[in-house]
Amino acid sequence: MEGITYLFLNAMTVASILMVVGLGLAIIYGLMELINFAHGEFVTIGAYTLVAADLLGGSFWMALLCAPIVGALFGILMERVLIRYLYDRPLAVILATWGVSLIIRQGIQLTFGAKGFGVSDPLVGTMSIVGVEYPVYRLFLIVTALSIMATCYLIIRYTRFGLDVRTVIQDREMAACMGINTRRINLMAFSAGSALAAIGGVLIAPLGNVLPHLGLGYLAKSFFVVIVGGVGNIAGVAAGSCLIGGLETFFNYHIPVSLSQALVLILAIVIVRYRPQGIIPK
Amino acid sequence: MAAKLLETSNIKKYFGGLKVLQDVNISLDYGELLCILGPNGAGKTTFFNVISGTFKPTGGKVVFEGKNIAGLPIHKYARMGIMRKFQVPSIFDDLSVRENLAVAMIANRNSAPSNDRIMEVIDIIGLKTFIDTEAGNLAHGQKQWLEIGLAIITDPKLLLLDEPTAGMTADETAKTASLINSLRGQYAIIVIEHDMHFVRALNSYTIILHKGTNFREGSFSQIESDPEVKEIYMGRK
């Protein structure tokens, strides 16, 4: 019983990380069908917001509030200066965002140095939950990720903006005909996606080391989460991240970690083979 | 007696609980022209999708030259001689008219590709002055004709035309009708349409499809004068 609880909590931790990063990606990718290779860098920007807050004497909680703003600002900048000219050239977007990703990574390295930063856990210690001791911060991470998920779901489901977004996902041209300002939706979605990635960065930072290429490692996996889950809906991201996080954690208990990570990716490919529209299609 | 070119028996196609086709039966001989008429939503395009391999039927048989062909990969249908023109023009936008036809021609392994044949087809579809134009830059009607050209260049046995006049001007529609009439006899052709005037111009054996079944069939004049057809079809128009 204890083992299963741990397995579940560990899987939820990994899933939460993937969820927050993947959610931002899902919004950008699902809505605009753009592959944003700089998405990982927004995670990095979020993490460095925390580092900057740390250096300036601020707290984790302040960074958690600031990061989405910083992320959104960078997102708006990128959309206005670059992406909006490239909506009809998806391949150019890959090249341009890869360029941006290099620039952001190196820019961060020049500003903060190549060395990593370790951020102290904002919540220290462990807590007893259904009979097991589990780190408080991880529990916080899981709860936060789930509430971000829920908030996004509510926004998409019940607000005017959400309705517009869903319309655009369904049929961009039709949405434009119906008087939805798709350019504005694009901008908002891009900044929202970037903001979410930045929050993800803050949340991830206390688990490990903050480095200029932190975000790169999450890029491929979060793409997979989105694809496996199903492009264009939030439930898909949740399902995809739970599936990948769960599989990875489960395998980790039984086989060598390198093998299990490879196995997860191979399984993801198999899933894409048989369910190209994702496990939860839109 | 030799087998018919195409026979379908009791074709059914369900999407979940939605029964789009239930019991569609047609039979077509070599060189014959058949029009399938029906209001929107009658299942015409679904029926085409079934006999050209895009969908596997839920039940029933599609027999082409004596063989049941339901469920084969799409490209096999073309190789057996079934060619299809889609409702929305579907051509290779970045290739020129000539290149479009050449790519269509080499799909069939039985005929040797030749420039003469390409020019011949360009003549038939009336795009002589546009041979090196990229297909994406053609006018809407010209795209439709090019697509018919793609379908006939390999001399198929059966030509499936899905609303060949959709979105055309009156003038273009008339030209299309005469184009189809000129092909009559060379290939078996099935046309699906909801435009009565166009079908009148073709004046062929006609089947009315309604709620996924054969509702009426007969010569066009018979169909036209049928009061029930008027009610379900023309009454709505």
């Binding site: 890869w98 290099l102 020049l110 490879a262 993801a268 190209p276 | 051509i91 479009n100 799909a107 041979i131």
Partner: protein, 351 residues
């Protein structure tokens, strides 16, 4: 399945635009080939090795262009095929002590990536995986194969790679024929590069090129005309992987060394950039792109280590806006305009 060679033989009479294209291509090709053939006359050993390696990476870029530019499928894990080719060469020729083992290694470096591409491609392409999905799945394949190369220490030597790959050669009786000097290796690589370039160009300028373009344009249409599009794409993918593998094999035997980062995502993205910069779909462009970017990277990184990623990143963005189709098409656009200005020919022109 019946093989129909007509696809490769039949040709339409070219239009002016195509003629201009082909002429530019041929002029550039002959110029470049001539320059490279004569290059050893004045180059020192160091430069010769440098250009040789650039040529090898040019071949990899070519193989990606064949897949992406002609087949329409962008692989973001293309370094995996290159690296697998290099490892196949290394493992075969190090472990087999036999007169022909390095030749066998070269064969393995072509065959094994081909087989892997067959498996992956069968799984993906026949399932209808295209576009962005293909990009991401191949990206994952690259990551998995790099991790495999690091973890599978007993075979791959782990993170530090394998050293001591014998040079290409074979033993006949008591004689050993061996390619171990810079000059002969240079010419071997150059020959492979020029031949594969010419071959793929010849293949794609005719109807087969039109067919691939048509598949990229409107695959459903091509299918309903009777083309087995998945099979065509699979063949393109396999041949692309084999060419990348061959380049890997050559790289392994030229440098005598393989390491896991030859399969890395970093290298994959570099390859992608070479193709995008040179001009996707031009086959020759990727070579030019690889040369320019690699040279630029070396130069800038020797001047300032901190700046080169910034410079390279900025270059990508500039390319997207200034040369949207890459360098070679950019040049073409000018030549076409120039030609039309002076040749008031009656030939009809596309756009």
């Amino acid at each position: 399945m019946k093989w129909n060679p007509i696809i490769f033989r039949f040709k339409l009479p070219p239009t002016l635009k195509q003629l201009v294209d082909e002429r530019i291509w041929l002029v550039a090709f002959i110029g470049l080939a001539g320059l490279l053939l004569a290059y050893p006359l004045w180059a020192d050993g160091y430069s010769l090795n440098l250009v040789r390696d650039m040529l090898i990476f040019g071949i990899v870029a070519l193989s990606l262009d064949w897949l992406w530019g002609k087949g329409g499928m962008l692989s973001f894990g293309h370094a995996a095929f290159f690296g697998i080719g290099a490892y196949s060469m290394a493992i075969t020729s190090i472990n087999l002590d036999w007169g022909f083992s390095s030749l066998l290694g070269l064969f393995a470096s072509v065959a094994i990536p081909g087989i892997i591409a067959l498996l992956i491609g069968y799984f993906l392409i026949f399932a209808g995986v295209r576009g962005a999905y293909f990009v991401i799945v191949t990206l994952a394949i690259g990551i998995v194969s790099q991790q495999a190369a690091i973890s599978w220490v007993s075979v791959t030597g782990g993170d530090s790679g394998l050293l001591g790959i014998p040079p290409l050669g074979f033993t006949l009786g008591d004689h050993r024929f061996q390619l171990d000097n810079s000059l002969s290796l240079y010419y071997v690589v150059l020959t492979v590069a020029l031949l594969s370039l010419l071959f793929l160009w010849q293949l794609s300028r005719g109807l087969y090129g039109n067919l691939l373009k048509g598949i990229e344009n409107n695959e459903k249409r091509a299918q309903s005309l009777g083309h087995n599009t998945s099979l065509h794409l699979l063949i393109v993918m396999i041949s692309s992987a084999m060419l990348a593998g061959l380049a890997g094999g050559l790289y392994a035997s030229c440098t005598g060394f393989v390491a896991p980062d030859l399969l890395s995502l970093m290298l994959s993205t570099e390859i992608f950039v070479w193709v995008a910069v040179g001009g996707r779909g031009t086959l020759l462009g990727p070579f030019i792109g690889a040369f320019i970017i690699m040279r630029l990277q070396q130069v800038v990184s020797s001047i300032s280590t901190g700046l080169w990623p910034l410079v390279i990143g900025a270059i990508f963005i500039i390319i997207v806006f200034v040369f949207p189709d890459g360098i070679l098409p950019f040049i073409r656009k000018f030549v076409v305009r120039f030609k039309l200005l002076f040749e008031k020919s009656g030939v009809k022109h596309g756009r």
